[in-house]
Amino acid sequence: MLTKFETKSNRVKGLSFHSKRPWILASLHSGVIQLWDFRMGTLIDRFDEHDGPVRGVHFHMSQPLFVSGGDDYKIKVWNYKLHRCLFTLLGHLDYIRTVQFHHEHPWIVSASDDQTIRIWNWQSRTCISVLTGHNHYVMCASFHPKEDLVVSASLDQTVRVWDIGSLKKKTSSPVDDILRLSQMNSDLFGGVDVIVKYVLEGHDRGVNWAAFHPTLPLIVSGADDRQVKLWRMNDTKAWEVDTLRGHMNNVSCVMFHPKQDIIISNSEDKSIRVWDGTKRTGLQTFRREHDRFWILAVHPEMNVLAAGHDSGMIVFKLERERPAFAVSGDSLFYAKDRFLRYYDFLTQTESQALTIRRPGSTTLNQSPRTLSYSPTENAVLICSDVDGGSYELYVIPKDNIGRGDNLQEAKKGLGSSAIFVARNRFAVLDKGNNQVLIKNLKNEVVKKSGLPVTTDAIFYAGTGNLLCRSEDRVVIFDLQQRLVLGDLQTPFVRYVVWSNDMETVALLSKHTIVITNKKLVHQCTLHETIRVKSGAWDDNGVFIYTTLNHIKYCLPNGDSGIIRTLDVPIYITKVSGNTVFCLDRDGKNKTIVIDATEFIFKLSLLRKRYDQVMSMIRNSQLCGEAMIAYLQQKGFPEVALHFVKDEKTRFKLALESGNIQIAVASAKEIDDKDHWYRLGVEALRQGNAGIVEYAYQRTKNFERLSFLYLINGNLEKLSKMLKIAEVKNDVMGQFHNALYLGDIQERVKILENAGHLPLAYITASVHGLHDVAERLASQLGNDVPPLPEGKEPSLLMPPAPVTCGGDWPLLRVMKGIFDGGLDSIGRGAVDEEEEEEDAGGDWGEDLDVVDVDGLQNGDVTEILEYGEVAEENEEEGGWDLEDLELPPEVDTPKVSGGARSSIFVAPTPGMPVSQIWIQKSSLAAEHAAAGNFDTAMRLLNRQLGIRNFAPLKSMFLDLHTGSQSYLRAYSSVPVVSLAIERGWSESASPNVRCPPALVFNFSQLDEKLKAGYKATKAGKFTEGLRLFVSILHTIPLIVVESRREVDEVKELIIIAKEYVLGLQMELKRREMKDDPVRQQELAAYFTHCNLQMPHLRLALQNAMVVCSKAKNWATAGNFARRLLETNPTNENQAKAARQVLQAAERNMTDAVQLNYDFRNPFVTCGATYVPIYRGQKDVSCPYCTTRFVPSQEGQLCSVCDLAVVGADASGLLCSPSQIR
């Protein structure tokens, strides 16, 4: 039982839940009815009008009403909104035991000790039926939730079921009610409306309670015979089904659970019992020490129950509703019913992963409590309270996710909590010995470790660490070092939520959230008035959490706020962006989109990311008093300024942030004295004399204005002020100004005009204005005041201003991002675009081959077509692979030891992997990788007739170097080298050697080929030649897998060879500037190499130009024709070709004879560069297949520079598939 709320009071006799709000009514033996909010734990109201105990109380389903019935024979209907009793129904002649509203009709049913049950219409406030038949106190009566039935229980040992169908018919028209009133008395005895349908006899003592099943035709009753009986009924009869025995005293109340198949009863034996509705066995018993139970109530919607006892009541749950779950990356595992389910946050799909329990074993609170998941091993630990705390370990079969119908035998163990602490280790808490057992996935104990504090639960705290919880503190314990890494006093921690980077942790208690770093250094604490349920960290380090009815956030500095309200509690599993993923109490995955603006804004402020702040201000609706207050409080009035439209607030904020311009603007809008005054004060503080002056002017505050002018030294304005004062007839003002100005005559004049002649006289005479003084003296006549004696008068003159007017050097108001930022942010992007430079290729410009400018910059990649190259290489059968000499190298030092130690005999060294390689292989590259250059060369010689190995040296060395990796092992121990193998796969079995990984592969050659094409196109012939030659040099050491690739390699040889030959001729041609004939010939031969189309065009164009320059028009014309036949895409090329063709047609002759007959097919000799026409004798290179004139036999092939022309060879062997 999970107690949610408890009250202490007088005996509770009646209880009723509100259907929507978290409220419960408790009627007490003292006559008081209490209305509680059981979620917040507060007493909302109390109703004290009954005289004596109130035994029955009931909320109305939809109206703000409840009904109560007491020992004062009164039924009272109350409106809880109005906090008062609306009316009282009188009629019962004895204590009223229960009262209940009908769910639909305006009826109340009441049961009374006067042996009657009465049904009242609370709208007409009349009794519409009296149900008689019981011959003792009626202890309880209630409507059927759907049908027209009433069940009642009485001390006459019977349970009765009443049919009230007729009542319903009669009241179909409301007018009837009044008509029926007159019939009341006749109905009182032997009523015709309501008839007893069944009388259920079976209890041997008085029956205290009877209740209908919410859906099935079942009744449950509890009686003073200490038994709970289950009854079934059909249309015609009702009968006893079973008896539940176990209570030790009178059963007070019994009812069916609205959702589960269980029966709950309580009794004067101070216990609440839970029974299985099908098996009819006791499931659980909860006892109280001293209090007898009197009443039960179930909530119609939520999963809560309440029970009233001698000294109060309890609101409780039978089972936890929080689904156990574990989050790992983008997956969520959670327990639902008897399955472990899997949810993917990315795709938002869910599937069954495992069956975790056999059906039928659902006892209370045995469902999984926590889950722990190890992603690498795909294993799940499920902890539950079964057997007083135990865990089950399952490994989720990888291929089975999604089906999940298999039932795996779990590895089990006892322990109150179990969590993974490493990939394949989990810790199990052994509370008894206060230690943890570290186990492996076979459920074997690997290690035991005592715990530093008395621990009642353990949580994950990073690999190898545990977070141990005790009553009032948590510690982080390193299992390997056995050290306490962190320690913190906290309220009782229920859940622990780590941030994604494992740097921060939120410790969730019932009413508090403590956020600390990974060493448990306290960062902030939040207090909630209602229960904290769950939480998760968002990507920005904001903690999003739920209470019973809110989603809230907590910033790293401890600021928190509400994001939204919730109707039902949810359990957050993950927060991603502004989506909150959560599980509800039914174990359904939900996503809630939240408005993250507020907390992201606050976070940006906190992190001083003002650019974000600004963009948020501009793009979102973020106003409201709360936000402004927050900004002010946090010291960002200038930010708040941007939100505010209300001028007064604006003004206030502007002053606070010292932004005088905005303050002035606002003050103008508001234009009242007080604001001007405040503006003046602030401006004065800042020394902004202009604004001060303006403010004083607006408020017509002349004294201040004058004084301002005085201290500013603005004499001109001061004298203006004097005049103004004069106009206004403000003598005092005039005088002040005159004083400030040091204008004595004026002062005297003022005094005189004001009638202060003595003063005027004294002023004049003291300041030496004798003529005026005399005039005044004459006016004064006898009243000439005596001048002070013995005093040395001095001239009172204000100091002459050094400078005049203007503002003082102003305090620099920080021109922060908020001022400039508002305007300038939009600009940044534009500038960057201009930086885009004209990335140009200078590759084309030095192409001196062709006279025509503008080679097209076409894409080079498009032209990779191998199809055209004819396959000439025919395989010859019957290689003699057997006779390869592969001497096994037995150069490992002979072990001489052994004899020296009598006990221990050191094993003989095993065979190095490299040796295994050469034994298995007849591929030259693999031998080279193994370091067996000798055999590698023999192989190459045999297969390809290669004799010149010098060009291959670096490749041999690279292959060898690349075949091993180096592992520094134990400190100061020689490094371990490991052979790198090719074709690794996850399923490869260990200890079986694969061939070596080679540093050259086919795709690299592909790259080289493309680069070669590019270089050729760009006219960088030396570069191109180098690339093609290097292709030819690499191929002997290439290993490919499939036959198809072998063919591709062979094709590549031909392509490379053609280019090498062509480019060699072209380079040769360029050297022979002085031999135009040979030049033309070479250019002509070049066009007969098998080239890519764009290259062929260039070659043709080249030959055409060379020949036409030499006036060999016929030949040039031929090239031009061939060029046009290729449909050149470049217009310049085509144009030039057409021009040459026209010229040639006019003059079909050649100036010089060339050794070139384009009608006769030929190949070019690779060494002498002369055509070998079809039918002529030739020899070829065994490797690259270049043809040579017979005289070259025995020479090194000048194209590939590797093989000997005309040598015997078995052919290229570059794939294991050729050997199979």
Binding site: V446, F933, P974, P990
Partner: protein
């Protein structure tokens, strides 16, 4: 297996040494209240860290002749490594000590003997002293020797012994990873996971990064290996294994390896890769001669 005794004060120090964060081991060696035995072990670990960092002379100077046997053994190792020309005399005195029944059975001495004979590539002599085991380190060294001898079957047996003693010990895990790499196949994945665990649990070291990188290379994932190795290079630009592996990795990626190679040749002319390369050049020439 015993339930927790006192906290293991030297745990971090040892771990740092095993995982190759030698400077961290030295820096954090100032531990409070240690028993005299622990203090000697602490000093051994610190001096071995210095040796691993190449500060041989410091070790030789600081350990005087009155120091305990384990320290003397460590000093011997420093002398051996610092002085490649005078190995004979050092090996002679080592053998002399080993023959001394009073100290010959000291675990540290045997460990050092194992290491020195490993350098001498006299594996059977090394095993003579280490095979009896006794400490995790000796067992670990045995595994190393067997791997070197290409006898993974024996190595596996040793590893099983270690696993029985303490499966979660850093050395057990490390040796497991190394052996997994040596046997190859699907075990490489496991080795990777072990290094991954280390990288989550402890600060990244060159050793862990290299371990991961080697796993990646063996799995054919040279791009990731390169990333890891460059990260390791950031930590220690002179680490020979990082450089050597970078050479190999670059070769496989078709990139130029000459920079790393010349760096390695400069800083560690004795490295196995350099030696292999030069001997390969010789054997190439020889092969050319023989084929021609």
């Amino acid at each position: 297996m015993a339930a927790a005794a006192a906290p293991d004060h030297l745990f971090n120090l040892r771990n740092n040494l095993y995982l190759g964060s030698y400077q961290a081991a030295i820096n954090n060696s100032d531990l409070p209240i240690l028993s005299s035995e622990d203090a000697v072990e602490r000093d051994c670990l610190v001096y071995r860290s210095y040796i691993a960092l190449g500060s041989y002379q410091l070790v030789i100077n600081e350990i005087d002749s009155s120091a305990a046997t384990p320290l003397q053994a460590v000093k011997l190792l420093a002398q051996y490594l610092s002085n490649p020309h005078d190995k004979e005399s050092i090996i002679a005195s080592l053998k002399e000590w080993l023959a001394d029944p009073a100290i010959g059975n000291n675990a540290t001495l045997r460990l050092i003997a194992g290491i020195i004979f490993m350098h001498e590539e006299d594996y059977s002599e090394a095993l003579k002293h280490t095979n009896a085991g006794g400490t995790m380190e000796l067992h670990a060294l045995n595994v190393q020797i067997f791997i070197k001898m290409h006898r993974s079957d024996y190595a596996e047996k040793q590893l099983r012994v270690m696993q029985q003693i303490d499966e979660d010990h850093t050395l057990t895990q490390l040796e497991n990873a190394w052996l997994n790499l040596a046997v190859g196949g699907s075990k490489i994945q496991e080795a990777y996971l072990i290094f991954q665990d280390f990288s989550e649990k402890y600060p990244m070291t060159g050793l862990i990064l290299n371990g991961k990188a080697v796993c990646c290379m063996h799995m054919g994932n040279f791009d990731e290996a390169e990333t890891l190795l460059l990260e390791a290079l950031n930590k220690d630009a002179k680490d020979p294994e990082t450089l050597a592996n970078l050479v190999v990795c670059s070769l496989h990626l078709g990139k130029s390896s000459s920079r790393f190679l010349s760096q390695l040749k400069l800083t560690h002319p004795e490295h196995i890769l350099v030696k292999r390369a030069s001997s390969a050049e010789d054997s190439f020439e020889r092969a050319v001669q023989s084929v021609a």
